[in-house]
């Protein structure tokens, strides 16, 4: 317990978290500090490129692990299943309409890649390693949850959704999925040689870029929270911190069954715990325009993301360490 508190404190005082907090505070104080859209997008491309490639190079280094495929399948299943859990919880805990509840639920089956990156960095600082292919698991978990959300609507509401072929392609060939998987594969192909060649770009400056990126996330999350105060009823807020913990338990289960390393389990827990704030919102705007975006965005980016970043990840690390005994 003490160890866990120390861990949480350590995490809370890392530059990464502090820059996130700076962003939130600047937004609350209505400072005009802002990162240009192109720079923010550029940094997120950098992060995807870097973690995809590093994951791939790690796989090339260790050889293909027998559990790779099973992990992908487990990720798929979780992404499909978690929205159902979230939906039931939301219907029980909040007064959201079916449409809004389904839309929110979809976000929690999918993942947030920055949360994943932050967890990777915590895992590393704790001196643990993890399976390089966890980035591939992250990629396959992005989209399925959207289908679950649409199924929930079809099942529980009279409303119609517009799941056209175009949308399906957009979801599956989403830029961040393509970049993550593509960089992963290139990492696998070029291996350690490739990594050595571009390490001064994707390894050494990584933490610094992550700080700036989280500053931007803080600004955006803070602005979102300020605008959407009215939306955040207590039940909803509670869901926003409870659901990631529940999700993480599913991740723990999957990771343990697959006998992943402790670090790998932490990452799986984090993936299951995190909520999408880019891919799923975009799909929801197309397929489910009636759902209120400020509800799902505020929950996912304003509540669950900060929770995971500050308390969640250290918690998942502590639990995983406890369970695997090392």
């Amino acid at each position: 317990m003490d160890g866990m508190l120390a861990l949480a404190a350590d995490n809370l005082l890392s530059p990464i978290i502090l820059f996130f907090v700076l962003g939130v505070m600047a937004a609350f104080a209505r400072s005009d500090l802002s990162i240009p859209e192109a720079i923010a997008k550029g940094m997120s491309i950098y992060l995807l490129f870097a973690i995809g490639f590093k994951g791939g190079a790690a796989v090339a280094d260790n050889g293909i692990d027998a559990t790779l495929l099973l992990s992908l399948v487990a990720g798929l299943v979780l992404s499909f299943a978690l929205p159902l859990v979230a939906f039931m919880l939301l219907r029980a805990m909040t007064r959201l309409s079916v449409v809004d509840a389904a839309a929110v639920a979809g976000h929690y089956g999918s993942i947030s890649i920055v949360t994943f990156v932050a967890a990777t960095s915590v895992v590393q600082s704790a001196g643990l390693t993890s399976e390089g292919y966890m980035v591939a698991v992250a990629a396959v978990m992005e989209a399925p949850a959207i289908l679950s959300a649409l199924w929930l609507i079809a099942r529980f509401s009279k409303g119609t959704t517009k799941m056209d072929a175009g949308l399906l392609r957009e979801i599956l060939l989403n830029g961040s999925i393509v970049l993550l998987i593509g960089s992963f594969l290139i990492g696998v192909i070029t291996g350690t040689d490739g990594l050595t060649m571009i390490a001064p770009f994707i390894v050494t400056p990584f933490q610094g870029v992550l700080c700036l990126f989280l500053l931007d996330m803080g600004l955006v999350a803070g602005r979102g929270l300020r605008e959407a105060r009215g939306v955040l009823k207590p039940g909803l807020f509670l869901f926003g911190v409870l659901m990631p913990v529940i999700g993480s338990m599913f991740g723990l289960l999957a990771g343990s069954l697959l006998e992943l390393s402790t670090g790998g389990i932490v990452l799986f827990m984090t993936l299951a715990a995190s909520a999408s704030y880019i891919a799923v919102p975009a799909a929801m705007r197309v397929a489910l325009p009636e759902a209120n975006p400020s509800i799902y965005l505020t929950l996912s980016l304003g509540v669950t993301f900060p929770f995971n970043l500050t308390l969640g990840i250290p918690l998942y690390l502590a639990v995983a360490t406890l369970v695997t005994g090392g």
Binding site: S34, K41, V220, Y277, P293
Partner: protein, 103 residues
Amino acid sequence: METHKAKRVAVIIEAIMQSRLTNAMESAGITGYSVLPVLAGGGRSGNWSRDGQISRGQGMVQVLCIISPEKLDNLLENAFPLVERHIGVITVSDCEVLRAERF
């Protein structure tokens, strides 16, 4: 200089709907349009801005379409269903064009 009557249709719509709108227009035989960026806005669903937006890239754009008056109804009928369930604004105004054969 000789000018000809035309209609200027401006649709402010979510960026993610842009290609759906222009595809619908193309299917209706309307191929001339321009898309302009929108930085910020306000409406019944609150204020937003590209900088402070929870998820950037989900802002709005303005699709501008100059057409000859007789094609207006066709355009509106094809564009409207797409916009109907979504937030946004459609305006139509009169204008004059040079080189009318192009519209």
